[in-house]
Amino acid sequence: MTGTVRLAPGASPAPADPATRDALVGLLLTMADDEFVSGFTDSEWTGIAPLLEEDVAISSISQDELGHARALYQLLAGVLDDGRDEDAIAYDREPDEYRHARLLDHERGDWASTIARRFLYELADEARLGSIGAGWPPLADLVGKLRREERYHRMHLVAWINRLATGGTDPRQRLEAALAELGPDATSVFTPLAGEQALIDAGVLTRSMADAEAAWRADLTTILVPLGLPLPPANSPAADGRTGHSAAFRWLWTEFTTVRHSEDGATW
């Protein structure tokens, strides 16, 4: 018994249909890797955020995201049932094996860049969480819980988008520059999943990633357009939106695997 909290054995049994199972593995891995990488990227602000309250806020949000990643990796470990626990899945992969979206491959950047990235991702994640059906109860149960927490992240980010957009020339220009840089990668969160139709047929998903993207774009429109800010370009997600990671991610990977690599199998 290691020192981590785990779900009851058999709490996330794999779906019987092999096609659904394989597609579910892909869905859980992308969701978990997105939360994991965004959580680690933003935890880099701890101690150096622009304001004390924001230092606490971004640290708390990062802690939430890492907790969400861990819960998702636990579900994935149950489905894979290959002897790996959530820590092994999270830390014992090579950089090219991570499946987070290209939007999250960017370096932390300045505060406006962090807010723009988090904003685009958080609303995309919300659209994705809103696409999870009751077809696989372990995920449906967890998502019900996650959505309650993500509400606070959304409030925080929408407030910051407003503040930067209306807070004077410099913050506005920084926000516009960040949205211009990140916008083309934003749809990568909705990269089509292998076996997506099987997940829809099984009720694990209630709609395609393309439909989730449309919902996200409508949501973004209500916030960005009144502020005179541009929507991300309506490019279809590239097929490689979750592979081929950046130098920035490779640096982050070295950071977040440091403790794991310093003593294999260590527990707190």
């Binding site: 020192g3 981590t4 909290v5 779900l7 009851a8 709490a11 309250e53 924001e54 606490v56 806020a57 640290s59 708390s60 949000i61 802690q63 939430d64 995201e65 890492l66 907790g67 969400h68 861990r70 819960a71 372990p138 149960d141 967890l142 019900g144 819980k145 996650l146 309650r148 927490e149 606070y152 409030m155 925080h156």
Partner: protein, 160 residues
């Protein structure tokens, strides 16, 4: 320290015995409020395999979970039966699960119980002249407030 036997030897452990013990197990970040009053105990089962306790994490990533699990196991150890403690998402924990006694104890400890921001009252002077400084506080479950009446910063539980 020698612990007195928690029950007469001539009767079996009941669910009520277990719950009574759990009334004394606290969240390490809020030592005055038990996990029962926080609404974290979803189910207690007593069967031939021993005692099974199902707990609801307040926040998915709360780092106190393992400490709480270990505390439950330690507290139930004197019963001399196998104890299985699991966390579950089967039902989402919400701040509405905190009991009235839990809310009163939170306030007595300087934490405003969960409420919509406009309904938060200062836990020290009960004033409504309070302002939220930040939705995020030192733990995942708390926000930062300031009381303009008694000029005290305080923390409030997030309604979730």
């Amino acid at each position: 320290m020698v612990t007195a036997a928690p029950r007469p030897a001539d009767r079996t452990v009941t669910r009520a015995d277990v719950l009574a013990i759990l009334e004394a197990v606290a969240d390490p970040e809020i030592p005055t409020v038990s996990i029962v009053d926080l609404g974290m105990v979803l189910d207690v089962r007593r069967d031939t395999d021993g005692i099974a306790v199902e707990l609801l994490p307040t926040f998915v990533g709360c780092p106190a979970q393992e400490v709480i699990r270990a505390s439950v196991i330690d507290a139930l150890a004197p019963l001399g039966e196998p104890v299985d403690v699991q966390f579950t998402w089967r039902e989402p924990w919400t701040s509405d699960r905190i009991s009235d006694r839990g809310r009163a104890r939170l306030a007595a400890s300087g934490f405003a119980p969960p409420a919509a921001p406009e309904d938060v009252r200062c836990p020290y002077c009960a004033s409504d002249r309070v302002a939220m400084d930040s939705a995020f506080g030192p733990t995942q479950c708390r926000s930062l407030f300031y009381c303009r009446a008694c000029r005290q910063p305080f923390e409030a539980f997030k309604p979730i």
